[in-house]
């Protein structure tokens, strides 16, 4: 007996792994163009993808545009998905590629405009002001302050709970390179958080 995808996906958090059989069924339904399957994956992955894009770009409006393009690409290419497609990894790969293209365009525009543009703002998270505690605000700031290549691996592995193998595939890295990059990113966060990282519950 196979699990009902709606029941299995409902309430699935960031770190829950979808049953492989359920994921294959969902992929098969997406390939057939089943609008219900699109609704399910949209409800499940939308906040994760958008949060990833907002934290990578630092801007909600840009994240809105990129997220919309991710879903349009899924609608366009769903019939070409392989049977064993890992959906979160596929969606994060598209999102990350779109982010890289957007970042390159922004860099090119900045280079063309030269000194006409104001200096780039110091890294800030779009969610820092909305953080519910000082700790959350400090962590948001520490993540926003990481170089993009380190920020993306922390967001994928630590925040979204992707397996290192899947994160490596999203980023086009070997598993070993991904592990090393994650380790360096953790060290940077630890340095940025200082005591907070050493004593998360308060000083002993």
């Amino acid at each position: 007996m196979t699990a009902d995808p709606l029941v299995t996906l409902a309430g699935l958090g960031r770190y829950g792994a979808v049953d492989a059989v359920v994921e294959r069924e969902l992929v098969a339904r997406l390939r057939r163009g089943d609008a219900g399957a699109f609704d399910e994956i949209y409800a499940w992955m939308r906040p994760r993808l958008w949060s990833f894009l907002a934290r990578m770009t630092g801007r909600r409006d840009v994240a809105d545009d990129l997220a919309q393009e991710v879903w349009l690409r899924l609608a366009r290419n769903a019939h070409k998905l392989a049977d064993d497609t890992r959906l979160p990894a596929w969606l994060f790969t598209v999102a990350r590629n779109l982010y890289v293209s957007q970042w390159r365009s922004a860099q090119a525009a900045r280079a063309l405009a030269g000194e006409l543009l104001p200096p780039e703002a110091v890294a800030a998270s779009p969610f820092e002001a909305a953080a519910e505690s000082q700790t959350a605000a400090r962590v948001e700031r520490a993540i926003a302050g990481l170089p993009p290549s380190y920020r993306e691996i922390v967001l994928l592995c630590t925040v979204e709970g992707l397996a290192p193998r899947d994160a490596a595939a999203v980023l086009g890295l070997t598993s070993e390179a991904a592990r090393q990059r994650l380790s360096r990113a953790r060290a940077m966060i630890e340095a940025a958080l200082g005591d907070l990282a050493r004593y998360p519950g308060g000083e002993p």
Partner: protein, 73 residues
């Protein structure tokens, strides 16, 4: 059995909850991909392909007729 979670990872996870877009944006994006899905579904149907093929054939025939009238005997 669940793997032990590194305290730093736990701290980062707890501090960075997923955020969501405003309801209007969610609805707009949903409408956009649904329209794309409908368009894509229609574009892949045999009826659409036959209609497109018929239109292309008619256009080609008209072109031949125009060229024939201009340069033909």
């Amino acid at each position: 059995m669940t793997e032990p979670v590194d305290p730093l990872d736990a701290l980062v996870r707890a501090a960075l909850p997923p955020h969501d877009q405003p309801a209007a944006q969610i609805a707009a994006t949903r409408e956009a991909w649904r329209a794309e899905l409908r368009h894509h579904h229609r574009a892949r149907s045999w009826r659409y392909r036959l209609e497109a093929g018929a239109m292309m054939t008619a256009a080609a025939a008209q072109l031949v007729w125009v060229v024939g009238s201009l340069f033909g005997g």
